[in-house]
């Protein structure tokens, strides 16, 4: 939560820099997607999640016991 208090003002300060819609060509490219390989991420995330204590991350989505 402390982190958020730092982040939010930061984010607000970015609002000054405008990127016009027609300047967003690069941002729209597939390599710039937040997750360019979601299938691969899901599989390796499942492996990491079953072998690491920090789990798969914030949003829970079942995923089994990982008891092996």
């Amino acid at each position: 939560m402390k982190l958020l208090l730092i982040i939010l003002p930061l984010a607000v300060s970015f609002t000054g820099c405008a990127v016009a819609p027609w300047e967003r060509g690069n941002l729209a490219k597939p390599q710039m997607a937040l997750d360019p390989h979601p299938l691969q991420t899901e599989l390796s995330g499942h492996s990491h999640g079953s072998r690491e204590a920090a789990g798969a991350g914030g949003s829970a989505s079942g995923g089994g016991c990982g008891c092996y």
Partner: protein, 896 residues
């Protein structure tokens, strides 16, 4: 589409000379099309992925585990569909099958938790020992360091002599039988121009664990979509129902769980069931900000509260109850049963305890990420960092960097690098020492000796030696390669190598190297972008395609090789699912068989053998991906990978006294993984007005394993699992077919003959399935222009299994242990009716009832769904077999 084009023209003139840029900009300007930064490019798509996980052998010191390390086969199929412009629906099916060995506990290596056993004076393997066996007494110095001792002094029961401190630890490895997890999940979303909301949920089922989950999330874009705020809440409710390994359970102290969580099973198997419930509430917030035209940054924070049973039911902690090694030193305690020592201060007697974790866990996550476009290379650099903290004492850091590099012609390569480090949980311990005797004896008032066991309440409240809760670091790296084809088809292959080491931990305190291991994952995926296909076929061509797909006579779901695409360059992607079940009574030829007949005649593989068991039921699920390509108008090529999973329950035959040491009655059997892979060519032989004749020739490659063995139990070897539970045929098989289809108005019909000829006498496991010939004929009527119904008759002849499993030489004695030459023999199971090769194949009549739906128009035109239920009408089986309940076929296919 026209709207886009006209807008392109306008923008092209007004703004920039680069037509590609203006096109992109125009697309971004359209309401609902301009992507928010946190918004996935959620175009309609179908995806399919296969993944393989394989772990390295663990270091066990001088011994080598007989077990293969754990490996997992994963299958994932999913789809995202726009129900309307603003309503999106996504669903996924995920299936994992695993088998192999994992650590069950940890102890000083002098304890010899993986004990070699010998057969005919040759080391045959190493079995896990959790309480008994050599090394059940471990000697300690005054600092409670474990000691090497002179083995001769122990075996001769003399005064035990120390050979010095040995702090080396070792995992004890135990085998997990093959098991399959299945998960289905969905997400339903509504999108506004600058916001979205979605709800999702799902269920994950495995034999010992069931998890149900739901989530709700939203996204808000503002600041002209330069900033996106996301948030969500999720809830997961999971039940553990673990059947405790009855080989080990008698030795394990599970008193912390009895009687509330742990109950004996009353199915005559001497088993116990551990039941627990767990709930997870999670909330997360995220913020994504475009920094400038080439970079964006994201921040996230999450909190998860987990309550309930969070331990692993298959992990135990080795507790050493330590007392003076000199029984004369204090006669109030002891004596222990081992060999005493006058020079060594302490001796510990081992007792394994089920691990005990706290039942509340609060977890926090903070993450940040940065994505930078690298202009000269058209590449993107992704950097992510995540900090994790929980109240179990674990702090973890994850650093990840990806470089996404497009190479032209639709190719993209992405090297990925990841580093992870975590602290140990507060209650993590490789093993425990408790300064009290395992049992002590006192004289009561009547001078009787009273035995008092250890006091478990003197142990810590929580303990676990699960290596996942230890301190370590992990370095991993990999590569993803994708190729996008013009028609909206994308193929992806990935590889990751992961190295877990105590010494990789950030800061000090990493676990020592006995716990180090590595694994790799490899995956292959296919994606079909349904929208870009729809766009490519806009206007007249699209209509033509929809017409084309409606033209072909609809085929019942269970019929393969019936349709040849006649437009060169066409691709069809399909998914087939088949489920069949056998349940009910045993048959002999075409009549019900009495148990006593099965006992006396069902296992006649060798003279004098009688049956003890037969299957109670068996389920088989088969997933097939089917990719077809038309290089010319008369030839189609087809690849069909298959994935299987099966489970069987065995019952004792009437009149036979169940024997857990001989019969595999415990909890049933599961197998699963990659099956055989089909490679086919299909030819158009004749095409007339309403009549088509096709021929298919092909082979199946033996990619499914046929050497799956039963788990070694009760210190006894086991041989191959039943023929029908293996994942493939093990042989190269020739598969010809010829199909006739006809169509007049709303009526269509067809007939097919297909066969399977094994091209080899026997596979690597020693046997071959019988050849098969099938003939079928059907009629179909179109109820509406999108829906038709079919009725079909099928006659199948299949031969019995030829030859039998190769002999597996092992200990055939009743008691197990170190076997002598006289005990050695073939340990393949032969006392179950399903283990007799003669009890396979037969002659079968089935009737099929099917429905076939084709979406005639709209953005999903060309999708075909069909289902068919095959109802057995008459069985005439070879030998003794379980009757069939039926088969469900379901298919989806999409041509473009």
């Amino acid at each position: 589409m026209a709207a886009i084009k006209s807008k392109n023209k306008r923008l092209g003139k007004a703004n920039t000379p680069n037509p590609l840029q203006s096109l992109t900009a125009a697309a971004l300007l359209l309401p609902g099309v301009m992507l928010g930064v946190a918004q996935a490019a959620d175009e309609d798509e179908f995806s399919f992925q296969y993944g393989r996980y394989e772990e390295s052998h663990r270091k066990l010191g001088d011994v080598k585990s007989q077990f293969d390390p754990i490996s997992v086969d994963s299958l994932q199929a999913g789809s995202k569909i726009s129900l309307t412009d603003r309503v999106k629906f996504a669903f996924n099916y995920i299936q994992d099958t695993w088998s192999g060995a994992t650590p069950i506990t940890t102890a000083p290596s002098v304890r010899q938790g993986n004990q070699q056993y010998q057969q005919n004076n040759v080391v045959a393997g190493a079995s896990p020992y959790v309480e008994t066996g050599n090394g059940q007494y471990v000697y300690f110095d005054s600092q409670l360091n474990p000691l090497n001792v002179d083995p001769a002094s122990v075996s001769l029961a003399e005064d035990v002599v120390s050979l010095g401190v040995n702090k080396q630890l070792a995992h004890t490895m135990a085998l997990a039988s093959p098991e399959t997890r299945k998960e289905g999940n969905f997400k339903l979303g509504y999108e506004w121009d600058e916001a979205a909301i979605d709800v999702g949920g799902g269920i994950s089922i495995e034999k010992d664990y069931e998890s149900r989950f739901g989530n709700i999330g939203g996204r808000l874009d503002f600041n002209q979509k330069l900033t996106s705020l996301t948030g969500g809440v999720s809830y997961t409710n999971s039940d553990t129902n673990a059947r405790m390994d009855h080989d080990a359970f008698g030795y394990i102290d599970a008193s912390a769980y009895t009687p509330k969580y742990l109950k004996p099973l009353d199915d005559g198997t001497q088993g116990h069931l551990l039941s627990g419930n767990r709930q997870d509430w999670a909330a997360n917030l995220g913020l994504t900000q475009i920094l400038y035209k080439d970079a964006l940054v994201k921040f996230g924070a999450g909190y998860t509260r987990s309550t309930g049973y969070m331990a692993n039911p298959y992990k135990v902690v080795s507790v050493f109850f330590v007392e003076s090694a000199d029984p004369l030193a204090n006669d109030e305690i002891g004596p222990f049963n081992g060999v005493p020592s006058s020079t060594i201060p302490y001796v510990g007697s081992i007792k394994p305890f089920l691990e005990q974790r706290p039942n509340v866990r609060d977890q926090w996550n903070f993450s940040t990420g940065y994505v930078q476009y690298i202009n000269p290379l058209d590449a993107a650099l992704h950097f992510d960092y995540r900090f994790f903290h929980d109240d179990w004492g674990i702090d973890a850091h994850t650093f990840e960097a990806d470089w996404v590099q497009p190479l032209g012609s639709g190719w993209t390569v992405t090297p990925r690098l990841r580093y992870y480090t975590q602290d140990a949980a507060d209650f993590y311990t490789p093993y425990l020492i408790s300064k009290q005797p395992k049992k002590s004896f006192k004289q009561d008032a009547d001078d009787n000796t009273v035995e008092t066991p250890y006091d478990a309440s003197k142990l810590p409240a929580h303990f676990s030696s699960d290596h996942r809760l230890s301190g370590y670091g992990a370095l991993s790296g990999g590569l993803v390669l994708t190729k996008q084809f013009a028609k909206g088809l994308t193929l992806e292959a990935g590889f990751e190598y992961y190295n877990h080491k105590g010494s990789f931990k950030l800061g000090s305190g990493g676990e020592s190297d006995y716990a180090d291991f590595s694994y790799y994952t490899a995956n292959a995926a296919l994606k079909v972008n349904l929208e870009s296909v729809g766009r490519a076929m806009s206007g007249g061509e699209h209509d033509h395609h929809a017409m084309h797909h409606n033209h072909g006579a609809p085929l019942p779901a269970g019929v393969m090789f019936g349709h040849v695409m006649t437009t060169p360059g066409d691709i069809m992607v399909g998914y087939r699912y088949m489920y069949s079940r056998q349940d009910g009574r045993m048959l002999h030829e075409n009549e019900f068989a009495a148990d006593q007949d099965i006992v006396s005649k069902g296992c006649n593989l060798e003279p004098g053998l009688t049956c003890r068991t037969s299957p109670a039921f068996m389920n088989m699920h088969m997933h097939m991906l089917d990719i077809m390509y038309a290089p010319t108008s008369w030839l189609n090529l087809m690849v069909m990978p298959q994935f299987m999973d099966m489970d069987m329950k065995v019952r004792s035959l009437g009149g036979v006294t169940p024997d857990v040491n001989r019969d595999h009655l415990h909890g049933g059997h599961e197998t699963g993984g990659v099956g055989d892979t089909g490679l086919y060519a299909m030819f158009k032989l004749y095409q007339g007005a309403g009549h088509d004749i096709n021929m298919g020739v092909g082979v199946t490659a033996p990619t499914g394993t046929v050497d799956i063995k039963l788990k070694r139990m009760h210190s006894k070897d086991e041989g191959y699992i039943h023929y029908g539970m293996q994942l493939g045929s093990g042989t190269w098989d020739f598969k010809p077919s010829i199909t006739y289809t006809g169509k007049v108005d709303d009526w269509s019909w067809g007939a097919q003959v297909n066969g399977t000829k094994r091209l080899e006498n026997r596979n690597q496991a020693g046997f071959a399935f019988g050849d098969q010939l099938q003939s079928t004929a059907w009629g179909s009527y179109s109820l509406f222009n999108w829906l038709s119904a079919s009725v079909r008759g099928i006659y199948t002849v299949q031969g019995a299994v030829q030859h039998q499993f190769n002999a597996v030489i092992g200990d055939t004695s009743e008691e197990g242990g170190d076997a002598t030459l006289a005990d050695m023999g073939d340990v393949n199971p032969k006392e179950g009716s399903m283990d007799n090769p003669k009890n396979y194949g037969g002659r079968y009549w089935d009737v099929g009832f099917g429905l076939n739906a084709t979406i005639p128009s709209g953005s999903l035109a060309g999708n075909t769904f069909s289902v068919e239920w095959l109802q057995p009408v008459e069985d005439d089986v070879n030998g003794y077999q379980l009757e069939r309940n039926g088969t469900l076929n379901a298919t989806w296919s999409y041509g473009f």
